[in-house]
């Protein structure tokens, strides 16, 4: 039954996608919209074929993906333990609260001037934009997640002899993991925002560069292709995530 309903969902999704693309194509073909404003999917597809043949599409995609993943993984690797630590210590929470409040709302875009001054146009600068742009929101997010844990479970753990560190590792981490993972999915989107911004400035490859370059030359199809590529990449990463999620969260379903 479970399996059935899942494959049913999948079928519905596919159908809905097909309908969506068909409507889009028709609307463009029938001339309701100028291709400059919105090219039909077929035009995007032919642009994709062209760019796959000359190897550009793959190299832009890989460049951006690499940057996103490096920055994102680094930021998660710092944010998760640090967030759990802050979420379980009133004192350090108070110490870092003002700094986090200051840093958190800062959009990745606003880091570009400083990062350029500090790091120049290196790959490190790109990673740092992703890192700075996604670190503070991840941290906030993880701290919120730790607060959703039933305090009874923390009591129980301490009652069984758990130290503060044990509580973090054995209770707060796994207890907030489902929410953390949900949050990381959102963060991955933020990381992409960051990289697109970073690639605006001083980049010669990457999907951000491709979109901006396409815009420069009024190639709306290239712009849309770049957008679709971002979506596809995120979807692929999502599937990997989900596999990972099942592994990490065997107790849910």
């Amino acid at each position: 039954m479970e399996i059935n309903s899942r494959s049913k969902s999948f079928a519905i999704s596919i159908a809905s996608l097909v309908i969506f693309i068909t409507v889009w194509e028709l609307v463009c073909r029938l001339g309701f919209i100028e291709p400059l404003f919105l090219p039909p999917p077929s035009q995007i597809l032919s642009r994709a074929v062209k760019m796959i043949e000359n190897g550009q599409l793959i190299s832009h995609t890989l460049a951006s993906t690499r940057r996103v993943m490096v920055g994102f993984i680094l930021s998660s690797m710092v944010a998760i333990p640090f967030g759990i630590f802050l979420g379980s210590s009133r004192f350090f929470m108070a110490v870092f609260d003002p700094l986090i409040s200051l840093l958190r709302p800062l959009p990745s875009m606003s880091w570009i001037p400083l990062s350029l001054l500090w790091l120049g146009i290196t790959e490190t600068q790109k990673y740092s934009i992703v890192f700075m742009g996604s670190f503070a929101p991840s941290l906030l997010y993880i701290i919120e997640a730790t607060k959703s844990i039933d305090p009874l479970l923390i009591r129980a753990a301490k009652n069984l002899g758990a130290s503060k560190l044990d509580v973090m590792r054995e209770v707060i981490l796994p207890g907030s993991l489902p929410q953390i993972i949900a949050g990381l999915k959102v963060m991955l989107g933020i990381a992409w925002t960051c990289i697109i911004s970073a690639e605006l400035v001083a980049a010669r490859e990457g999907l951000g560069f491709m979109i901006m370059n396409g815009k420069e030359y009024f190639q709306t199809d290239t712009v849309l292709l770049g957008m679709v590529m971002i979506s596809i990449t995120v979807m692929v990463i999502d599937v990997v995530f989900r596999k990972f999620e099942r592994r990490l969260l065997p107790w849910t379903r």
């Binding site: 790091l119 146009i121 290196t122 001083a202 009024f218």
Partner: protein, 308 residues
């Protein structure tokens, strides 16, 4: 012994015409002749390029002088200027719809310019000359040059200040005409200086550490300038790779540029230093229009040793 201490130079450029000599120098092997390998790093904006220069990622670059002056005003001693490669006055200007005949007609209209650029400065100056207040009499919008054709097309804006190659593109669009170009700029009338002349800059530490490398670069660079003057078609062929323009358009752009040779540099930069004086005026102009806090003494940033 003139062999350079360091054989690679990282140059920061873009597809703007101010970077043609560097590109030609690389493509035609002119730097190579002096034992140099030059790496051309692409940047969209002058400010990003200048930031990278002072951060130590670039060795030499060409920049719009507004960015240069702004960086001086910010107090950075990390770079020096050593030349100006070109003068252009007819590939930048304000383009308007046909119904706008005079500057006065701009009243109440929407005008776009990329803020903090030469075109921005041009607009501010032209408005001032005609007694218009950019805050009250009209709407001045910050728009990138590449966004202007669409905005003009859709009627979002009535006029815009742009430079080549978008300048040419905008002019060709039906119903558009040139309102003014850089020749109307107040400093141009006095100093033959456009609102944003190109400036060659070098990282100070680099110039001090590798004087011979710097010299070699300057030599190769101005050889490329000579080539641009003497063999424009040969150069246009390699430039198409940089600009993505057609051969025809590329030649068109080249026609409008006055290249400044190595021999002329000393007079402009050092003695009597007309160009530097003009830059100083520009700095004051920027202060007057609240773009920068105070005018730096431009002279202090000239690397006299490197000027050919």
């Amino acid at each position: 012994d003139e062999t350079p201490e360091k054989v690679t130079v990282i140059y920061g450029g873009s597809s703007w015409l101010g970077h043609y000599p560097a590109w030609v120098g690389i493509e035609k092997g002119l730097f190579q002749k002096h034992g140099l390998g030059v790496l051309f790093q692409n940047f969209y904006a002058s400010s990003g390029r200048m930031g990278s220069l002072v951060a130590g990622d670039l060795d030499i670059a060409s920049t719009g002088s507004i960015s240069g002056i702004a960086l001086m005003a910010a107090g950075s001693k990390g770079f020096m200027a050593f030349g100006t490669p070109d003068s252009y006055a007819t590939v930048e200007g304000i383009i308007a719809r046909e119904n706008i005949k005079t500057i006065q007609d701009l009243k109440g209209k929407r005008i776009a310019a990329p803020f903090a650029s030469s075109a921005h400065v041009l607009v501010l100056d032209i408005l001032e000359q005609n007694g218009l207040d950019p805050e009250k009499d009209l709407t001045l919008l910050n728009l990138k040059v590449n966004e202007m054709p669409a905005a003009m097309h859709s009627g979002e804006i009535d006029a815009c200040a742009a430079w080549t190659p978008h300048f040419n593109k905008l002019l060709k669009m039906p119903g558009h005409h040139l309102l003014v170009d850089d020749t109307e700029f107040s400093l141009y009338k006095k100093y033959k200086l456009g609102p944003g002349p190109d400036l060659l800059v070098v990282r100070k530490e680099f110039a001090q550490k590798y004087p011979k490398t710097s010299k070699a670069f300057v030599k190769g660079y101005f050889e490329a300038v000579d080539m641009l003057i003497n063999e424009p078609e040969e150069c246009a062929k390699v430039l198409m790779k940089l600009t993505n323009l057609s051969m025809e358009d590329q030649m068109e752009v080249l026609k409008d540029i006055t290249w400044i040779t190595g021999e002329e540099q000393r007079a402009l930069m050092v003695d009597p230093g007309d160009f530097v004086a003009g830059m100083q005026q520009l700095a004051q102009f920027l202060v007057k229009h609240n773009q920068i806090d105070h005018a730096p003494a431009v002279k202090e940033w000239i690397a006299e040793d490197m000027v050919p």
